[in-house]
Symmetry: C2
Subunit: 366 residues, 2 copies
């Protein structure tokens, strides 16, 4: 498949774009979307950019019953000099294929879908907000569409990319969140789907989230599903701790999602010669460091918030307040550096950003 | 909400009904479906029977991204004297609400949806096949429809019931299946969603199923996610063992689905004064019984197959052949008794079947 195969149907009307200061996360979508179909025998076919519109689905479509689906999340940023940057998008499409493998969904051509994404972004160029902290959120996803109630991999799928202009995750700047440590519900376990970005993991997380919000905590910290001792993730983010000068994040153990921001932070810390370790870490270890006065910082990492400082953990009726509930120095430096690189304000020493080149404009292939 | 609120729009055309001997599972759907919407503020509303048709969904609908969904499966049977029977349907709607609670989906009025189902079945009366082993499979399900990419419970849902005439699960009569014991992948863990009937559990099961089929086994036996020692379920069924005269099934431990067939078998065995125990049972226990010559029978239980005898387990490169690979006496008696009760051929000593009364015909409320 090559880019010339992508047909483009432009929308006859254009939606009104929201004001930069009124952007919410994931509620407004742009004028167009990318869509491509899979069926056994034909493979992936009919790649097209079309007006954003509802899709029609048979009520027996497998996605409605057996949840066979995967997704990704990344962002496009507008630079001050008008260029459009993506942050390590090849990692998202690599991971999408890893999720596909776990969910028995046919593999995508990673290079092709990245080029298709660039083409879609060119079409939606005017939708990329430029105010501080804003970006265009990108949601590639695959759903199973075969109308069949047998529990088997679907014989047909849709791959789609939709786009949503999003505001700053922190309306009043980066600030720490309070986290409840979850002792009852489990996000994932080794041998399950925790390393894949699939709907079921997120559906499973809703209940714990609802319970923690009721007691005044905005997210949960997930412990391992076997011993309920070891730290896995926070909300839908990876988690880091700074203890006595060393930065520690749970090692990838078969139930933790390998976040692109997580990987980037590890690489950035190594680049800075800051000690960083991926290892098993228990909630007891964290509490002990807190008691010893060596728990200096904690933060979550993910595409939406980039860095989310943690001001407090609530565990077994005890509150562990970190760095007086303020954003730590390293958390702030990581946030400023990553967002600086992503938006082209800072140099890109590790070669992470990918420019959406003008050569990919839709006018070439139309 | 009462039955008079259900509006009925009949299909102008009728599909051709498949021959009784050509029925497959879950591929053909009837002429009508039941649908009802939920939105915050309005609650569940607009219950209606309409022609079976595709539904229109925004690409950002939560079901496509975060898998918030639940479903049920049950059957309607035609008796020799032309009555229509459901098997313990109140248990399915009770469990649907338990699944709803785990998945943060708003509760349904169980009595109302059962009456709505009866009304739909009356409309589709002619679709219920009558040949030996056939039935009308019923699939109630709920999907989250809010177009929003935040990880939160949806503010809108659709509850639907679709119907599919299905053939005998065993084309050539009940016969034993070969099962591979799964040592790598995990279906569910305590604190997860294993007790709920939600898409993610089934999506998670596809990979192990695919691997086992490649080595010639039709289903997998799931072990617990913590120690990978204790038996949980088989495929998408519950599992029973007969060891030295005692029938044993894994106790409900927080990760096993509480099957309606499972419950019914336990009740039936007690009614017959056959010793039956719900307890933890390990694969080592089963192997030891096999070596001792006391592993008399094994079978899976579920709505689709009712009883699925197990002729062989494959575990750690060892084959455990049960009862010479033949259907056991108790398995056969349970199958005959349950299907006999379900189809009205045998007496119903425990009061399980529910007749779809003529008083619920749509002609009353139209």
């Amino acid at each position: 498949m090559n880019l010339q195969n992508i047909t483009i149907t432009l929308s006859e009307t254009k939606k009104e774009k929201p004001q930069s200061d009124q952007l919410e996360f994931g509620k407004v979508f742009t004028d167009h979307m990318f869509i491509m179909d899979f069926s056994t025998g034909l493979g992936w076919h009919d790649p097209r950019i079309v007006p954003y519109q509802p899709i029609t689905m048979d009520p027996a479509s497998m996605i409605f019953h057996y949840g066979q689906s995967v997704f990704e999340g990344l962002k496009a940023y507008q630079t001050d000099d008008g260029r459009v940057l993506l942050f390590r998008p090849e990692k998202n499409f690599r991971r999408l294929n890893q999720s596909n493998d776990r969910l028995c969904i046919p593999e995508l051509d990673e290079e092709f879908v990245l080029e298709a994404l660039k083409k879609l972004i060119e079409v939606e160029r005017e939708w990329i907000p430029s105010a501080e902290g804003t970006s265009l959120y990108i949601r590639p996803f695959i759903i199973s569409t075969e109308p069949f109630l047998g529990v088997h991999p679907s014989s047909s799928y849709k791959f789609m990319i939709i786009l949503s202009p999003v505001g700053s995750y922190y309306k009043e700047g980066i600030h720490p969140v309070k986290i409840a440590v979850e002792s009852k519900y489990v996000r994932a376990v080794n041998g399950g789907t925790g390393t894949a970005k699939t709907g079921g993991n997120y559906a499973a997380s809703l209940k714990a989230q609802e319970v923690s919000e009721k007691i005044g905590y905005s997210q949960v910290l997930w412990l391992d599903g076997v011993e309920k001792k070891y730290i896995e993730e926070v909300g839908s983010m990876n988690v880091f701790f700074k203890i006595n000068g060393e930065v520690i994040t749970p090692a990838l153990n078969g139930s933790i999602l390998e976040g692109v921001t997580r990987t980037s932070i590890i690489e950035l810390l190594k680049h800075w010669n800051v000690p960083v370790t991926e290892r098993k870490i228990s909630m007891d270890d964290v509490r002990q460091a807190y008691l010893d006065g060596t728990l200096e910082e904690a933060f979550g990492t993910g595409t939406a918030a980039v860095i989310s400082p943690i001001g407090e953990f609530f565990w077994n009726d005890e509150k562990l307040v970190i760095n007086d509930g303020k954003t730590g120095e390293l958390s702030k430096k990581l946030f400023d550096t990553l967002t600086g690189i992503q938006t082209g304000k800072l140099a890109d020493p590790l070669g992470w950003v990918v420019e959406v080149s003008k050569e990919n404009t839709f006018s070439v292939a139309r």
